[in-house]
């Protein structure tokens, strides 16, 4: 394998052109801007929000005085759980079909790939509009936890499906051959041998999906609604953390508390990202 040379200054080269230096400087400038912007956002939100992360904010009952986000945290958890309850089995099973059962390059595989790509490209506001028309109105679910969860399940499906397919395809053929050689059937080989090897990749996709669900707003405003309460049944409306932040900034009365909510959201996303990064890294080390 050839080595990528990242800095060729060790190679003697007469009269380096000033344009070269300028290009290099521009690249570094762009990199600094990228990292700087990330730093600015994280530091700004944390500095403004952390001082307001008080016990009041996590009080069991919401009222306009304590602006508690407890209900929103509970709703975010149940929303995430419910959405994944639909999208993970469907996505993983579908990925298994594409990678293990379908003939490679068959028309069905192509169509599923194209539609998964299409789903991934649809903006969240369209999902919100669709969820409202389909689940809230047509299926008469009303603004409810379940309507929101179903909408988000469709939204996270393509990521899980494609990642499952890719993880399964990267499992070496010899594993399957070994299993077949020992007399195992197709299903047993897939579930007991291939799937466990692919699990870290699938898990990474699930973690990223959790981050997306926790941060979603536009798709939820018209499906699960904006009521400040714990949705204790599937049929009740309730706002998640992201929607809570959206409503707080619209009201404009509790900006400090809004910053605190933003901190919690950032922490959730950073945690999910770090976990999925860690798992993906472990995966590449093993391979």
């Amino acid at each position: 394998m050839s080595v990528i040379i990242r800095n060729a200054s060790s190679i003697p080269r007469p009269n380096r052109h000033w344009g070269s230096k300028l290009l290099k400087a521009l690249c570094w400038l762009a990199g600094v801007i990228t990292i700087g912007v990330l730093g600015l956002i994280v530091v700004y939100i944390c500095v403004k929000g952390i001082p307001y992360l008080t016990g009041d904010l996590f009080a069991f009952k919401y009222n306009s005085e304590n602006v508690s986000m407890f209900h929103a945290i509970v709703n975010t958890l149940s929303m995430t759980f419910l959405a994944l309850l639909f999208s993970v089995p469907v996505g993983v099973f579908g990925g298994i079909y594409l990678a293990e059962y379908a003939k490679p390059g068959s028309r069905l595989v192509k169509v599923v790939r194209v539609t998964a790509e299409t789903l991934a490209g649809i903006p969240s506001i369209i999902y919100g509009l669709f969820g409202m028309m389909a689940f809230v109105v047509a299926l008469k679910m009303g603004n409810s936890l379940i309507a929101g969860a179903l909408t988000l399940a469709i939204m996270t499906l393509p990521l899980i499906l494609r990642q499952t397919e890719e993880s399964l395809l990267s499992v070496p053929m010899s594993y399957r051959e070994g299993s077949f050689g020992l007399g195992a059937g197709k299903l047993r080989t897939t579930v007991r041998i291939v799937l466990p090897v692919a699990t870290p990749g699938i898990l990474a996709a699930v973690l990223l999906s959790i981050g997306r669900i926790a941060g979603e707003t536009a798709a939820l405003v018209f499906t699960s609604g904006t009521v400040a309460q714990i949705s204790d049944t599937l049929g009740t409306s309730g706002r998640t953390l992201a929607v809570h932040l959206f409503v707080l900034q619209q009201e404009g009365l509790h900006i400090n508390q809004a910053f605190a909510v933003a901190v919690v959201l950032l922490v959730i996303v950073a945690l999910m990202n770090a976990l999925s990064f860690y798992i993906a890294k472990k995966l590449t080390k093993k391979g």
Binding site: I4, I5, R6, N7, I11, H17, G19, S20, K21, K24, C27, W28, A30, G31, I33, T34, I35, L38, I41, Y44, I45, K48, P89, F93, G94, G95, L98, Y101, V112, V114, T115, T118, L119, G121, I122, I125, I126, Y127, L129, F130, M132, A134, A138, L161, R212, E216, T217, A218, V221, A242, Q249, A258, F259, A262, L265, L266, V269, A270, N273, F277
Partner: protein, 276 residues
């Protein structure tokens, strides 16, 4: 089990079909009552008077997206070049998770950041309310950075190293080898990454609604407010009824068609790249 797996795989196809069906079935009745031409080219949006012209929003989406690409694409591509060919592996190890985190930050947090920091900054320095095309473009450019960086870096990494070595052997510097041989070779991949980012930018809603001012009139000035197609739906769907509600679904249909066109362009570019 085989059939269960097959059925699960088909859920994607079903989902796209159902989404299309719901959008078009619910959006079409509007066009039987209101002329498509007037809807697409009308410059006045006055739901109370039953006047629905979405040209300001189409132009608004276009301006904001173009602004985001103008700022975001160069920074993103240069950052990708830095990560692929200039920075040492320690720097890359820091930058990769940073870019992934940038991709993971929810749009509501971006929007809130823009509202609390960028909007006042523009208001103090340039006057006006601060909620403007400019702030929306800057914020969007940050949001599309990770998409551009990740796709460009993958494209740059996929260029055979022999191109670079050949260039060095001919006496070119490291920099000109990277910019004159690797970058052109990676261009198709970078272009499709920019198209992908374009789709993301047009579809963004939550962050824009907080910083763009949302005035439903033709955008004239970088520092004036603007309303995009996405914002139009999110802002008014909550209380709209009858024809007004239908007009918002029709707005969604227009947005959907635009996104589909961009997706099509994206997969077309990708397919051509694979064939090459």
């Amino acid at each position: 089990m085989r059939w269960l797996f097959l059925a699960s795989a088909c859920v994607c196809i079903l989902a796209v079909a159902v989404i299309c069906a719901f959008l078009f079935v619910n959006g079409m009745p509007f066009f039987t009552k209101y002329s498509v031409i007037e809807f697409l080219t009308g410059t006045t949006w006055a739901p109370l008077r039953n006047v629905f012209g979405i040209l300001p929003m189409i132009v608004g989406s276009f301006y904001v997206t173009m602004g985001a690409l103008l700022i975001g694409a160069p920074i993103g591509i240069l950052t990708a070049i830095l990560m692929a060919r200039f920075a040492n592996s320690t720097v890359v190890k820091v930058m990769k998770p940073a870019v992934a985190l940038l991709a993971g930050i929810p749009s509501i947090v971006y929007g809130f950041f823009g509202l609390m920091l960028l909007v006042p900054l523009i208001r103090v320095n340039f006057g006006g309310t601060g909620k403007s095309v400019l702030v929306a473009s800057i914020l969007l450019s940050i949001m599309i950075l990770p998409t551009i960086i990740q796709t460009s870096e993958a494209a740059l990494g996929a260029v055979p190293n022999s191109y670079y070595e050949g260039s060095l052997a001919l006496g070119a510097t490291h920099e000109s080898s990277v910019f004159r041989t690797i970058l052109p070779a990676a261009r198709p991949g970078i272009v499709s990454g920019v198209v992908l980012a374009l789709g993301r930018a047009i579809g963004e809603t939550t962050a824009i609604i907080m910083v763009a001012g949302n005035n439903a009139r033709m955008p004239v000035d970088l520092l004036k407010g603007v309303r995009t197609l996405t914002v139009n739906v999110l802002m008014e769907m909550g209380y709209a009824a009858d024809l007004h509600a239908q007009s918002l679904i029709a707005t969604g249909v227009v947005l959907f068609v635009i996104i589909m066109a961009i997706n099509f362009l994206f997969s077309f570019l990708n397919r051509r790249r694979v064939m090459q």
